[in-house]
Symmetry: C2
Subunit: 329 residues, 2 copies
């Protein structure tokens, strides 16, 4: 990918606009007890990848950004709803370097803020639904349902010790990929793309989402705390059964296998044990295997859109896929 | 109202159908960890007033029940979402005589079940949206937002001791009435009613909702535990600032006023104090004043639809208004 900066500038420019709109969206609305918490989460930044995918997908099929500006806000609002409720369920205390909503306020406030964000997301989406309304809304609905199913599976997995890698992939598809796929799909629908174009965009989003989540799993173990904003090895400390962990469990034998089984039995490890597990991962070639898996899905994403008409947005979608898997945070 | 039984039979017949459909809706869907809790709440019965209002409103403007069957399920699903999340926020342990969802399962499960019920409600609503889709969806969205605002105000009021009756009415409008108004509105829209017909139905729903909630406040103090399923005086025990309490506070002087102020200062009363407060209410004529208020809103509801074409459904809507305020549970 040459000329990386051009695409990054393009991305940054659009996401800064989205950031400003999100930050302003609910300011001054009453009651303050509901909208101040909503604004707090909408003002917490983020990559705004999902919004950008809506915009690019609209334009890549021949539409304009202006046809999808509200839909782009909508998917970010929906994404923030999932973060707020997931953080309650995961008892997470920090998000993007700030207190999570239920820590800053309380659990009831966070539940209610999340609920209202769902309706506000639908409201904003509807503003851009001039054509294909029922189909777009159905796509949106189905992804909300998938996200809930994914979160439910994720919670199930916490207490199971026999999860297969296939099951894990279904879970991350539902929990992470389905939303990214939906962004590409509704972008294509808002831009009045053909069935084939929309299908191509959906496949792009689905595979991009899988690559994205696997990269997240990988960054947990190779990331730099300064860049990544989370503690390295946090997934191991919490006993999360990530792709890396499940793959290691599949490949390990003898003492290594016993050490991995202990992570599940003890529901996590101590901070000073991270290096031991990192070495097991290295010995089993897990980091390389994960990278290969990420590359596989990235290539599938890029291949999915090869028949779309050439355009700057198509180039940007291709760039975005490689940019995301090369990120270090 | 003559021939009460005819209308009641009609209501019972339709709500039994709704009850069966709700009970079956999510059975066998996977993952069980998400859908079993959803089914648990959808199988908990209830009056299905909201669903019935959708059906009646569709037919009263010339449509058919079959145009609104899914929408009728949708509003019940949405209503159940609010119950599940409100019960978490209120730490309620019982609902319709059974454990609340977060007691039966846990808080995370209840949050997630509620979230998915929102999307499932939208999904079912969309099935019936053949005409006026954007307008119907906007009506639905706005009511979800109002419900969240109402719940937020309700929580605000718990820690405030200067709530006016006007503020209280705004809160119950948002928390209870807005949904009932929405049911009548989308029913009218699904039936392709005129603007005037839809406005009439909205006013009917709004006033019916207010009468309904005020009756709920009244039943807390006059209801029979056997009929009402809750402890008589529960609102006083919890220190809830209902219409009765706020009206009493407005009218009381001297020692009575001090006793009422104590309810707020102590955030509720003991069970053995209920009779003392019931006597204060009686002395201040609060029960009669509340009944008058309920009658006022019931009459406004009935008056709202006087220009609708005469039909069995119009008669049923009128009957329903008086039936609801004469209920003893």
């Amino acid at each position: 990918m040459k000329n990386n900066n051009k695409y990054l500038k393009y991305y940054t420019k659009e996401t800064e606009k989205i950031d400003k709109k999100l930050a302003q969206l609910l300011v001054k609305r009453q009651p303050d007890s509901l909208y101040a918490p909503c604004s707090y989460i909408l003002q917490s930044g983020g990559k705004h990848l999902r919004a950008y995918l809506v915009l690019l997908s609209t334009k890549v099929v021949g539409g304009k950004f202006s046809q999808a500006n509200n839909a782009a806000l909508s998917v970010e609002i929906l994404h923030n709803f999932t973060l707020v409720h997931d953080d309650i369920m995961d008892s997470a205390e920090k998000r993007r370097g700030r207190d999570t909503l239920h820590i800053k306020y309380d659990i009831s406030t966070a539940i209610l803020a999340g609920d209202s964000l769902i309706a506000i997301a639908y409201k904003n989406l509807l503003k851009d639904c001039i054509i294909n309304t029922t189909q777009i809304l159905n796509t949106f609905n189905e992804s909300v349902i998938e996200i809930c199913e994914g979160q439910s599976l994720d919670k199930d997995f916490e207490v199971r010790d026999d999860i297969t890698i296939d099951e894990y992939k279904i879970m991350i598809y539902k929990k992470t990929s389905a939303l990214i796929q939906m962004c590409c799909s509704i972008g294509g629908q808002l831009g009045n793309g053909t069935k084939a174009e929309i299908k191509a965009l959906e496949n792009y989003g689905k595979n991009l989402g899988l690559a994205f989540q696997l990269k997240d799993d990988l960054l947990d173990i190779i990331g730099d705390i300064k860049d990544f904003g989370k503690n390295v090895g946090g997934d191991l400390i919490e006993g999360k059964k990530t792709f890396l962990f499940l793959k290691a469990l599949e490949l390990a034998t003898g003492e290594d296998k016993n050490e991995l089984l202990k992570v599940m039995a003890n529901k996590g490890i101590k901070k000073n044990q991270i290096n031991k597990y990192k070495k097991i991962y290295e010995k089993l070639n897990i980091l390389k295997i994960t990278e290969n898996e990420i590359n596989k899905y990235t290539n599938l994403a890029i291949k999915s859109i090869k028949n779309l008409k050439d355009s700057e947005e198509k180039e940007t979608l291709i760039w975005l896929a490689t940019y995301l898997i090369n990120r270090n945070k």
